[in-house]
């Protein structure tokens, strides 16, 4: 069986390998996870991918490209701060790592490292970022640790 698309893959893994669930039992908390995941995957990531950024840069230069990226990331991050404010614990939606964290962690990492964003307006996300950086599972998944890593 072949599964493509990170969301489809995660839901497949969740259903096939139920140990250490990626979603909480409570329906409301599950919905918070789905929303956080989609803020990243539909409202931020598509607008920061290489194809789109290359297009903007070719047409208007790298200044515009950075402004574009910052605008969309900041909009998404502001929404995430509000969404998660009343639900976050040690991680995004409680004290366990769930689906929302899987989408947030790489996105926050990209904002800080790739786009060098100032995230002081997003204290919750910064706190989550610190928590993710303590996790061996997250450290092992970092781009720099992958077999195809090329230093830039």
């Amino acid at each position: 069986m072949v599964v493509a698309d990170s969301f489809a893959i995660l839901m497949y893994l969740e259903e096939k390998y139920p140990q250490h669930p990626l979603l909480p039992q409570d329906l409301h908390k599950r919905a918070i996870n789905y929303q956080a995941a989609n803020i990243v995957s539909a409202s931020i990531q598509p607008l920061q991918n290489l194809v789109v950024l290359k297009y903007i840069e070719e047409k208007c230069g790298s200044g515009e490209r950075l402004a574009w990226v910052k605008h969309h990331i900041e909009k998404g991050f502001a929404a995430l701060e509000k969404l998660l404010k009343d639900h976050a614990g040690k991680y995004a939606t409680g004290d366990e790592v769930f689906l929302a964290d899987l989408f947030l962690a790489p996105q926050i990492h990209a904002a800080l490292k790739r786009f060098k964003m100032d995230m002081t307006e997003f204290p919750l996300l910064l706190r989550l970022n610190d928590a993710y950086n303590e996790l061996p599972a997250f450290q092992d998944a970092m781009p720099e640790k992958q077999p195809d890593y090329v230093p830039s």
């Binding site: 969301f7 489809a8 539909a42 929404a79």
Partner: protein, 217 residues
């Protein structure tokens, strides 16, 4: 369907393809809801009240008692879990994954790049001709991928003989591509066939923009 005692409330705009997905899904599941219009062209999505519901200022938003869910993808997964009658996802793992993948291609790789605010930016910066090229490029790229993906799975609907989440995402997107952006759908025969099947459904017909309470015809 439109009673103030209905438990479900849907914030929608008649022309929003994302809200359309949820209208179609609610009809398929036989769930009554109260329709509340957010007039996007008038900027009602930026009102403080609506911003409280969804800080991203997008429709659709579903309110189910105390629970507020934004984003059509999240709303459909929530509805599917809370109201399991008439499932939006098949039980077979491969077809389930395929439905999620198709839904995500539409909701992450296509719609966000062609929504009004982005197109306005493209047109302001680069002009109307570039805007049309951008739209065409992004829609056709997505539809080509979907056509390949579904060629071997589709029969009456996207992944078989029942309507599922993939159809719910596809049908409104195809309609918008054809009607608003003049995309030639004959290049995508599988998608076209799926769309025709959806158009025959009363649940789809009731969900079309022109039949919504806030339609301006």
């Amino acid at each position: 369907m439109m009673s103030s005692s209905s438990k479900l409330v849907l914030y929608s705009y008649w022309q929003s393809s994302c809200a359309w997905r949820v209208r179609f899904a609610l009809n398929i599941k036989g769930l009554a809801y109260e329709y509340r219009s957010v007039h996007l062209r008038k900027g009602e999505q930026f009102s403080p009240e609506f911003k409280k519901l969804n800080p991203l200022c997008f429709v659709p938003v579903l309110v189910d008692g105390d629970i507020v869910v934004s984003d059509s993808f999240a709303i459909l997964l929530y509805l599917n879990e809370k109201y399991p009658q008439i499932a939006l996802l098949p039980s077979d793992p491969q077809l389930r994954a395929l439905n999620l993948q198709v839904s995500n291609i539409v909701s992450s790789s296509m719609q966000p790049l062609i929504m009004q605010s982005i197109l306005k930016y493209i047109e302001e910066k680069f002009g109307p001709a570039e805007r049309q090229l951008w739209v065409q490029h992004n829609i056709e790229r997505g539809f080509q991928a979907l056509e390949k993906l579904l060629k071997d799975f589709a029969s009456t609907y996207a992944t078989g003989e029942e309507v599922y989440m993939a159809d719910v995402f596809l049908a409104p997107q195809i309609s918008v591509a054809e009607m608003r952006f003049n995309i030639d759908m004959s290049k995508f025969p599988t998608l076209n066939r799926i769309y025709k099947s959806c158009k025959d459904l009363p649940e789809f017909q009731a969900s079309v923009p022109e039949r919504q309470p806030d339609a301006e015809l």
